[in-house]
Symmetry: C2
Subunit: 600 residues, 2 copies
């Protein structure tokens, strides 16, 4: 079985050939230095790091898991050492502000690194990944003093960060949270409460952890309008800015989970822990929303990661495993049987994984570039466009790519037959690790309500229209290309239908608010298939262009893109047919049954 390889060729196709990444960087203002050479160098180095340091400890990390012993968490063998190398090499600060020691590259660079690290070893990648929220919160809302205290250490990776939101009785419904913050005399607060499901909440990889904690001030209003944000370091920074005295926050236990065993999911007890208010009082949730899109994009990545990982492994297996003969005649007559890749249904499973992985990659990269724009010195107009695009597409990316990522991971397992169920091949771990992605950072149902309720209906189509126009513009550009005729026709039909369905649901929702909830997940998945169709259309157009060049040196690569695009349009996009039908059926079939009559 071949070792994991970062999909460099495909990442370059996505970034350099389809999405014009380096042009994008030059237009951001301040990132003109990101040319092809720098991009290639970073991708190559990152690939080396994840292949050599992270992939080898993925399976052992799962089997060993994290160990908890009286508030202390020990990460699996090799995790700490790999993290030290990550910090030493400066990876942690790739996209961070040079003022605090960062390398000042666009945020998307960190996303590309996360993509590779997460594909090689998702559990490990969550430790640096979780720092992002703390870093972004302090950058956006911290006082100068707070920035000086924390951003340097978070940028270097010497300290990691967490986001402490969930309590046992509330996850989605944060308005119910009970952790309270009592003012101390020195301007700090004493936090009391218990948080659960804190990813990377305790570990042995750094000497400090910076928790960003949602809590209530004594006089706070009920509900979501009474939540404030606090910085609660595990060790209180001393006068030199180093980890000092131990704070009153401790890890009460870690969860026994289905997957991501290498990442510690902590229960944290705040027993009068010292915290410092960050941002205005009672505006904590609003402050958090400023980087919610980036955090959700980080989870969308997870779907892509497990899809790619399973695809690589199951493709290897399908080429090597000999079993049965092709129905259309022996393909390897010299062998005892044909490799299973000859069987149409095995190809269906491989191509589904391929189309979801490579299409998902374009989708994620494109959104990461929008994040660049929103956080850059680009024009107000350009930022507005990127903001609107992110608002619409982020919940789709998060839910659609994790749902289809889970499907893809399961197909990877399925190709192994009974062997897929056995630990040693790594495919069942890939499925278990993937399963969390549809739950955290807002479940699929929550993303769907965000998309349909808040973003689409809430904006009266204002967020959807520009994206439809973007697709229609693409269609217009390729209207005369006969090789794109089927693709363009399918995209146009779907855009019209998407608009019509949106209108229909919006109308129905005016008389019954449950129509939004009833259609939401179908609507999100429907939208996702169209978004992915658009990115596959762009890949197809790029590949056709490349092939038209007589000097093209990789015809097989580009032909495979075209073939996969065709597969996508003929075998995956038609899933919209069922979703349209179930959306049209409306809310009644869901709401008719009395809650007491579901089981007798």
């Amino acid at each position: 079985m071949a070792d994991f390889k970062a999909p460099l060729r495909d990442m370059r196709f996505s970034l350099k050939e389809v999405l014009n990444y380096t042009t994008h960087c030059s237009e951001l203002g301040g990132f003109e230095e990101v040319g092809d050479q720098l991009l290639d160098a970073i991708l190559d180095e990152a690939a080396k790091f994840v292949e050599q340091e992270l992939a080898p400890i993925n399976q052992s990390g799962d089997q060993q898991g994290c160990q908890w012993n009286d508030t202390v968490v020990t990460t699996p063998d090799g995790f700490k050492e790999a993290y030290a190398k990550y910090v030493d090499a400066g990876w942690a600060g790739l996209s961070a502000d040079p003022e605090f020691g960062g390398q000042g590259l666009p945020p998307s660079m960190a996303t590309l690194l996360s993509e590779m690290a997460g594909t090689a070893n998702w559990s490990w990648a969550m430790y640096p990944g979780l720092s992002h929220g703390a870093h972004a919160t302090i950058t956006a809302h911290g006082s100068d003093e707070q920035k000086q205290q924390y951003l340097g250490k978070l940028t270097s990776g010497e300290w990691t960060g967490t986001m402490c939101l969930t309590e046992s009785h509330c996850g989605t419904d944060l308005g119910m949270l009970r952790t309270r913050a009592e003012p101390n005399d020195d301007g700090s607060y004493a936090l009391h409460g218990t948080k659960i499901f804190i990813s990377a909440g305790e570990h042995d990889m750094t000497d400090n952890i910076v928790h960003i904690v949602l809590a209530r001030l004594p006089d706070a209003p009920q509900g979501t309008r009474g939540i404030s944000l606090f910085i609660v370091p595990k060790m209180i920074p001393d006068a030199n800015g180093e980890a000092g005295e131990r704070n009153g926050v401790s890890c009460g236990s870690i969860e026994h989970k289905m997957g991501i065993h290498g990442n510690a999911t902590a229960l944290l007890n705040f027993d009068g822990a010292k915290g410092w208010l960050i941002g205005p009082p009672n505006r904590g949730l609003n402050c958090m929303f400023t980087f919610m899109n980036a955090a959700r994009l980080g989870t969308a990545l997870q779907g892509l990661a497990h899809s790619e990982f399973g695809f690589q492994k199951s493709l290897d297996y399908a080429r090597e495993r000999l079993q049965m003969r092709s129905l259309s005649g022996k393909k390897s007559p010299d062998k005892a049987a044909d490799p299973i890749i000859v069987h149409p249904d095995v190809r269906r499973m491989l191509l589904t994984q391929k189309a979801l992985s490579e299409g998902g990659r374009l989708f994620v990269h494109s959104l990461a570039m929008d994040v660049d724009t929103t956080e850059s010195d680009a024009s107000v107009e350009a930022k507005g466009v990127a903001d609107a695009r992110l608002a619409l597409l982020t919940p789709i990316a998060k839910a659609f790519l994790t749902e289809t990522g889970f499907e893809s991971a399961n197909l990877g397992l399925q190709i192994f037959g009974g062997h897929g169920f056995i630990q040693e091949w790594g495919m069942e771990q890939n499925v278990r690790d993937c399963r969390i992605s549809m739950l955290y950072e807002g479940t699929t149902g929550i993303q769907a309500l965000d998309l349909l309720g808040r973003k689409v209906v809430g904006s009266q189509g204002g967020l959807l229209r520009p994206f439809l126009a973007e697709i229609q513009q693409f269609c217009a550009q390729h209207a005369d290309n006969r090789h794109m005729a089927n693709t363009v026709a399918a995209l146009k039909t779907h855009c019209e239908e998407w608009e019509q369905i949106t209108t229909d649901i919006t109308m129905r929702a005016m008389s019954n608010a449950d129509e939004v909830g009833a259609a939401s997940v179908d609507y999100l998945m429907y939208s996702g298939y169209i978004v992915l169709a658009y990115f596959w259309a762009r890949a197809q157009a790029t590949a056709l262009n490349a092939l038209a060049d007589e000097t093209c040196t990789e015809p097989d690569f580009y032909q495979a893109k075209i073939t996969t695009a065709q597969f996508y349009f003929e075998k995956l996009l038609p899933r919209t047919r069922s979703l349209v039908a179930t959306m049209e059926a409306g809310a009644d079939p869901l709401m008719a049954l009395d809650a007491d009559h579901f089981h007798f």
Copy 2:
């Protein structure tokens, strides 16, 4: 969280009200004694047994797993004791021949017991479940002496059995198997080879295990026509028929798996183990096919089991968990939030589980009754009808109910949000345990080839037509019932389409055999949705009938059936729309890509 309850009310609805089980038994010949009273008594007693003895050791069995130590396997705490109670109570011989100590009830009775036991604790239920294959093989093909030696012990449950097919290099493609059987002087054979993935292959619950082993005689032809069957007991029966001398078969290890940790999946080494030929030489695979349908039905049950288990638990949770307010106005204003069952998308997930569980139950029960007929003294004609129905519907039941069972188990987990990923709630175990069902006893892809290639195309529609006629007859019977109008219309349209699509694929397959493989899984799932629609239509008709009776004492139960049927027709059956589109797209999109060009 409520304890698991066997779904007795629904089982009775299925058996007594929809499928006329006791009439069926009286028509089989020899089973006239199975009236409502006996059926009720058995269901009640079985429910008590599985609720009190099996459900409580389901989660602990997962966490503890089986332990292997130098050929000895220890099952989880309580497994052995529960098995002893099962044997003492006579459950093992429920459907077995009274000549060997059985209770002589129809085979379907054992299936009903398996359904309940498997829902409570699938890992445990596999131990007695695996005995079925050995029992059936010896019953069908054993000599009188072999029957005398083994059937009594297998009937009482004092010994268990296994089926030893798979080797590391072949699972689906048994023609490649290498285990060999050399003749001894005494008429027995010495078996040499290694078998893997032997469920219940070694354990501490009984003092003997009867392995049925596929192996090659020295002069055997290559491929599947050179496979013979052997009885290889772990302990050779002594003169008194008790477990005697240790045979040369031993457990080399057990697999570390994604789920079903409570069941030992053994690697068995045959080092000159003594075996006795059963059935004619080189006809082993044919002998096995005689009860393949029953074995596959046993796995179809697993999809139903995990669907029902997840449904019960997630329904409880959805009624208790308070989170957010209904979009259409507060439903529990006195509480901090509404129970999540008010949210349309949570209801979608619950109703999907409900429709798949209860519809799947009807499907499985109906097939179990066909098995009764084939194994009874019914007329040749009646047996022929049942045989044809089983041939067509068994691969559908196996693959469709396990694929949708896995979906259902995942929806159960999803309703718990992040808590679903945590071991303590049992939902992630339910998903892990379920995952194997799409792999063993022939993967989904293999079932689909069996259905479309062997059964449908192979019989030139001869197996499909009678089942279509059965549905059409149902439609004709209910043509004038206005409450059934939508249902009947949808069934009729789908029957016509099913026939048309079958013709289309058959035509295409004449010029390209890969068209069968390309359409196969879509075709199977498409067929499955229609089959389930038919059973939901029958449930609806039965419920309408019951409600029309003025003395009806359970109007809520029957109304819930009608509402769920409507949900099925409006929200699940439309999945056929996408499957039709992808089947129509044919094989080309799957076969176009060169095997070397899937990844660069």
